[in-house]
């Protein structure tokens, strides 16, 4: 896989990275990425795809078997201390802050990251205010909900941000209002000059938040680009979804409908915007012939790209489950 980004503004560069915990079973298999200043880069993939292992190597917690990782041209495999200074990290697991108040936990990390006391205090207050958490500022962490703890963890990563801010599932357990506020803060981090690496399996959220993304499956990068370019697929940026009548089948689809997949009673395909009218006519005729029950046409989503990249088995499973369901309800 060839890295896409390669400008002078490259902050993080990963080349041909391989890592395995058991011989012959690579967790990261020849991964190459190049991430630039001022971008939000998404790392998407199902559980066990190798995302966390990749992040562990970036922040110096694990060493790759082969390949290289550089941050601002510094080899961080040789100098992991540089990575710890350059990266601030919000882990997926809940942060252990019992015994501290929200503001104490945030300020402590800010100071350890080298911030001056006054600057850190002002920035901590600003973050808590922006995330509408003022009433929690001086409360002990023991009383916090899971969402509150995650927001505090985000503030800890953002109080004195590194050139690279790594956020692993930052919005889990967080209410919709504060999710929106959190994404605004992520944008602020980018405006302050940081690069954000977002690790997630929430495709819908990633689609709205990231500038570029890589989809990882079984340790490999299966696709990479901007959400629009991945969805565009050579101009085929519309999505047709047909629900077939029980036991009905479609022998042939028109040639302007591409990438057709049938899972159970559902047919999904991609088309160009210019082919919407004939597609509607074709779908209507299927309804009249009682082959199709209903149809919809809309813009392609990143979820389709994601599922196509990583969800081959999932599709087969869904098809089987739907077939089972049909048999039971018939």
């Amino acid at each position: 896989m060839v890295a896409e980004h390669g400008t002078q503004d490259t902050v993080l560069k990963i080349d041909n990275l391989c890592k395995s915990y058991v011989k012959g079973k690579p967790v990261n298999d020849d991964i190459s990425l190049s991430l630039g200043r001022g971008e939000i880069f998404g790392l998407l993939g199902p559980n066990g795809a190798g995302k966390t292992t990749l992040v562990s190597q970036i922040i110096g917690l694990a060493k790759p078997d082969s390949g290289s990782i550089t941050i601002e041209d510094v080899d961080i495999i040789v100098k992991p201390g540089y990575a710890r200074q350059a990266c601030s990290f919000q882990a997926q697991t809940q942060v252990p802050i019992n015994g501290l108040t929200a503001v104490q936990a945030i300020e402590l990390v800010g100071r350890v990251r080298g911030g001056e006391a006054k600057t850190v205090r002002v920035r901590a207050q600003e973050l808590l205010k922006n995330l509408e958490m003022e009433e929690w500022t001086k409360k002990s962490a023991e009383t916090f909900s899971g969402g509150m703890r995650r927001l505090v963890a985000f503030c800890m990563a953002a109080v004195v941000p590194g050139r690279i801010v790594i956020l692993d599932e930052p919005t889990n357990d967080i209410d919709p209002l504060r999710r929106r506020l959190l994404w605004q803060e992520v944008r602020t981090l980018v405006a302050m000059g940081s690069m954000v690496l977002l690790v997630t399996h929430n495709v819908l959220e990633a689609e709205r938040a990231v500038d570029r993304l890589a989809i990882i499956d079984k340790g490999k990068v299966v696709s990479m680009g901007t959400p629009a370019s991945l969805k565009g697929n050579g101009g085929f940026n519309m999505r047709l979804e047909l629900t077939l009548e029980p036991k009905a089948t479609i022998q042939n689809t028109p040639e302007y409908i591409q990438n057709t997949t049938v899972t159970g009673r559902r047919l999904i395909g991609r088309l160009r915007e210019s082919d919407i009218n004939p597609t509607i006519q074709w779908a209507c005729s299927l309804k009249e012939q009682r082959i199709a029950e209903e149809y919809s046409i809309g813009p392609a989503s990143l979820e389709d790209v994601y599922l196509k990249g990583v969800g081959r088995n999932d599709s087969a499973e869904i098809a089987e489950k739907e077939a089972d369901h049909d048999r039971v309800t018939a």
Binding site: L61, R84, Q85, A91, V95, P96, V109, V112
Partner: protein, 253 residues
């Protein structure tokens, strides 16, 4: 500057953390207080007897008790290390640029600070009951006991980092603590013990600290046993810190 700054920041965090868990503090203080209240009367009849150095039991028992307090404070350090490992605290700081030596030493320093407070309370309680307090001797004693916590604390942290499991760690700590305590003369001066015990005690570092602490409590800071205790403790500190730093750097790379 950064190691000092990080040590100060993390020390503050550890010290406050203990304050928010007062059960640990209360139990930590109650144990030596109960020893004083319940064990001292048992010794009353021994005072002035053969092998018992002075006429007042508290002058013998309290300094030994303080050395034991320091020893137990240190060897218990690893419990917190294992809790921190389990709840991700160490992992959390691993990914920050926090100085590694500061990460290692700050909980030990917080423990020493709390021990100083305990010692002041214990001495204040013992004085009305006849303990003869000598300020200079006590101050030197505090330094010696702080060094002992450093040695035992560093050792305990290394054992905890290698074991990682509370069960096996507790077994090791208890297995070591009992013979070390009995062979140090904490409860009774070893001058009352048979010769073989007195010989074996010379291989026990705590023995030297207990002996020196009794001399210091009498206000005699220039005694050779004080010098010997400092020599033994400082020597052990170099060895344990060298070893623990290696273990720590490996675990918290």
């Amino acid at each position: 500057m950064k190691p000092l700054r990080d040590t100060a920041l993390l020390f503050q965090r550890e010290f406050i953390h203990a304050l928010r868990n007062p059960t640990w503090l209360i139990v930590g203080l109650m144990t030596p207080l109960l020893y004083l209240a319940l064990y001292t009367p048992l010794l009353q009849k021994l005072a002035g007897g053969p092998g018992f150095p002075t006429t007042h039991v508290l002058d013998v028992f309290l300094p030994g008790m303080l050395a034991y307090l320091a020893f137990m404070n240190g060897v218990s350090e690893g419990y917190q290390t294992i809790f921190n490992l389990k709840d991700g605290q160490i992992e959390r700081f691993r990914v920050t640029p926090a100085n590694r030596v500061a990460l290692l030493i700050s909980p030990v320093l917080a423990d020493i600070a709390w021990m100083f407070i305990f010692i002041i309370i214990l001495v204040a309680v013992a004085v009305p009951f006849g303990f003869d307090a000598h300020i200079t001797g006590l101050l030197v004693s505090l330094i010696l006991l702080a060094l002992l916590v450093m040695v035992t604390g560093a050792f305990s942290i290394a054992i905890a980092l290698i074991n990682k499991e509370i069960g096996s760690f507790a077994a090791i700590v208890n297995g070591i603590s009992l013979p070390v305590m009995l062979l140090s003369g904490v409860l009774l001066p070893l001058s009352m013990a048979p010769v073989w015990m007195r010989v074996v005690a010379h291989f026990n570092p705590l023995y030297y600290v207990v002996e020196a602490n009794r001399v210091l409590a009498a206000g005699n800071i220039w005694n050779s046993s004080v010098g010997l205790a400092f020599l033994v403790t400082l020597g052990l500190m170099v060895v344990t810190f060298w070893w623990t730093t290696r273990v720590f750097r490996k675990a918290v790379a």
